[in-house]
Point group: C2
Chain length 479, copies 2
């Protein structure tokens, strides 16, 4: 009797088979399985899994910002605004203002596809304040996290031009949203390597090499820059950004600036690509640019709310119109997500009732980042066979690890890369769940993992101790 | 001085140029402009725009369900659970249960990519209760509205097979999410016409004609069915669904069942494709199927919250694994959206404190649907030159209108289709914003528009009167 599947591995969209997203890949799946085993009482050498796979601060115990959550509650259930509940006036004002911009005062109505007018104006004002350069709300598109709008922008480049397939330059190591999305879209990924020996510097000579080699068979159309770096945590200098802009200008590359960690910086100044472009003057100040931010990172860290934006600069009007139409098919991003982005773009002002608490909350969050980046840097460099660059920002460490040849051979037998084998052993023996460098990219022959570093102090210390103990033991096993 | 754009209409993804989404297209844009003109005091023959472009109940004044909004407020700001606020115990219980399933009790943590375990179990239970057929939570994928998961499922079919390009069968008229998404993906849309002369029946002979003609040059891989119909509002009979399933089985077509209006039915029984397949037994009960539902429709109508699901049945395991990976790159849908889907899947039970209010609220909503479908049907058929089939469900009417030849010529001069011209004139003269049939599809030579019908009674009557007056006037202008 016939019953062949309509969809088989052979006849589905073949691009999809190439997607890899290690952050939620096999290591995490195994970690979740171990968690279930622990619940069932399966004996392990550890009592709990420490998840360090993902930049998800609330999942690590960071508390939500009170102002944001109060606003969220009030826009969800507006009867609370006039209740006897002890809610600060600026929270009530913000909720009313947001509801006024929702059709018939309900967050359950669709918003415009690009987002509520109020929120887009707030984003534009935030950018203007940050850069000292005007921003137009019509250039702002809100999305379900930055991922959503990054995917939409990358979709624009899917087209052979001059008989050559399109390609996009991506830093290595990178955040696998880029590799995964380019795989899905069937756009070639062109790797340029960050210079680990020099604090993950972005060297122009490497951009040139990468572009030159790729241009033989591809049409290189865009350049992705991740600043602050993910997973690498470095912050680009202003000079470096100028050089990158000049490089892109000369080769007519569209810059995608993933700047989602701009509020997660310890000490160095953050320079947006937009600001530097404008300061450089013409012709650079007229270049196309896509710059991304999200409420999932920064001090809000509201990953689950799915909210972000792209500012799209200097697009040809017909291209922007097409982008509008494409975005409109999915209706709009979550209106509650838009509401929290509004709070992030304009937090409580000095003098307002919520201000003090807000300042205390973000001070604590910043303090944790400062301490963890320093501790991670120090600890990793104190483990024999580990090397870690200084961490300027983001919420990750990406240490390089020596893996003995014997262990590499063992990995090969198991059909794994050495870093996957290492991370899996680490997980099985300590419960610590970090993501192998293979998922982000690394120079061939070098091995890394990415770990989130924003756990509570004790948990973080426990994780670092577990990693150290594991590694010393591992080196003895594979001398 | 060079400064060619990186992105031009000529070199961007050419598929995107074909996307049309009339629901948010030029007519709505003009309506929004008119609203701004009215605010500025530009004199018009009407005082306000009546938006009827979009199935957005809250925007038409429908009140949110209290239970849903109270749960939302509590999961957003959990301190409310223990406050002195007068909140029913079942709301508190639900909020706690949801927070227990969020990592570290925060809706700001990412959920699993397919959605919270609790919510997927609830969806599976809802389906099991509805169909009397088991449902597996691992087959459920939550999304940012149904649109999001529909797009993901359609993405699977992008692949030439046997040297022929892929194609998907879509009813005409259809909801333009399908045409828009197929355009973006570069998948051919194969039209099959619903039979307006017989209450928008889905005739198997027409499916056969359509499939046969398309199969000459395409590989027809899937069949979209919209039940209840959008924009047409008919509900398929069980017999008809059986015939459709047999048709799909014989041609090895994957069925996408857009069943998002299943809770918006006036009187006829709803039969899900899944239920009918299982009742038919083997081999039909083993067919692949994607069935969609959303919290944007039904009695909840929480469009702005972006929440929906697909149940994917009988996928080849490797295909399902690939689907999982593709979905994971975008992290997860809004956790707050997931929370309201939970409330929709399991509303307050009899005997619980919220039950009475809930029952009263949904009774009112159902009553409005019942009245408006009847009034729309009656009114449209009383206008000379209008014809409207009975409306079984959804929230739309899709009347056929006669447009005089003179008016058709006038439209042609303006480079518009006759129905676009008609709807634009209607908007300019009355402020009523409906969407031309061109946006949904119609038999060549016939003209329609889609209007939402869920306005408050007075507003609805005003809209119907405006349309009648306009049409009579229009027929005098173009005799």
């Amino acid at each position: 009797m016939k019953l062949e599947k309509c969809l088989t591995e052979e006849n589905i969209n073949q691009n999809l088979l190439n997607i890899q997203y290690a952050v939620r890949g096999p290591i995490l799946q195994r970690a979740l399985q171990i968690e279930r085993e622990l619940v069932k009482g399966v004996p392990k050498r550890f009592e709990r899994v420490v998840r360090a796979n993902c930049g998800d601060c609330h999942a690590l115990g960071q508390k939500p910002i009170t102002f944001i959550r109060q606003v969220l509650a009030l826009v969800s259930f507006p009867e609370l605004i006039s209740s006897r509940l002890d809610i600060p006036q600026d929270v009530k004002d913000r909720a009313k203002e947001l509801l006024d911009d929702c059709t018939k005062g309900s967050v359950g109505s669709y918003s415009p596809s690009n987002g509520l007018n109020l929120v887009r104006s707030r984003v534009a004002q935030y950018i203007t304040n940050r850069d000292g350069v005007p921003s137009n709300p019509d250039d702002i598109y809100l999305g379900s996290g930055a991922s959503d709008v990054i995917k939409s922008v990358l979709t624009l480049f899917v087209e052979d031009v001059g008989g050559k397939p399109p390609a996009v330059m991506v830093p290595i190591p990178q955040y696998p949203l880029f590799s995964g999305t380019l795989s899905e879209l069937g756009v070639r990924q062109v790797d340029y390597y960050l210079d680990e020996e020099h604090d993950w510097a972005l060297q122009i000579s490497e951009l040139e090499r990468s572009w030159r080699e790729a241009s033989i068979e591809s049409n290189v159309r865009a350049l992705v820059v991740i600043n602050p770096g993910n997973p690498t945590g470095q912050v680009l200098t202003r000079d470096n950004i100028e050089q990158i802009i000049k490089f892109a200008y000369e080769r007519n590359l569209f810059i995608l600036a993933d700047e989602v960690y701009q509020e997660n910086i310890v000490s160095k100044p953050f320079h947006s690509f937009k600001k530097v472009m404008f300061e450089m003057g013409a012709p650079y100040s007229r270049m196309e640019l896509a710059s991304f931010l999200t409420a999932s990172k920064g001090w809000a860290a509201e990953c689950g709310l799915r909210s972000g934006y792209v500012e799209l600069l200097h697009l040809q009007p017909s291209v922007q119109k097409t982008f509008n139409t494409m975005r409109s098919v999915m209706q709009c991003p979550s209106v509650l997500g838009q509401c929290i982005l509004d709070c992030v773009m304009k937090p409580p002002s000095p003098g307002k009732p919520s201000h003090n608490q807000f300042i205390n909350e973000i001070r604590d969050i910043h303090q944790v980042l400062k301490e963890r980046t320093a501790t991670a840097y120090k600890t990793f460099n104190s483990i024999p066979g580990y090397f870690c660059n200084p961490i300027d920002g983001s919420m990750f460490a990406y240490p390089r690890i020596e893996i003995p040849v014997e262990a590499q051979l063992e990995a090969k037998k198991l059909n794994m890369s050495p870093d996957e084998f290492y991370c899996l052993r680490l997980l099985e023996e300590t419960g610590v769940c970090v993501i192998p460098g293979t998922g982000f990219g690394q120079l061939p022959g070098s091995f890394h993992f990415r770990t989130t570093i924003l756990h509570p102090k004790d948990e973080f210390q426990y994780m670092m101790d577990s990693i150290r103990r594991f590694h010393l033991n591992f080196m003895q096993l594979y001398p």
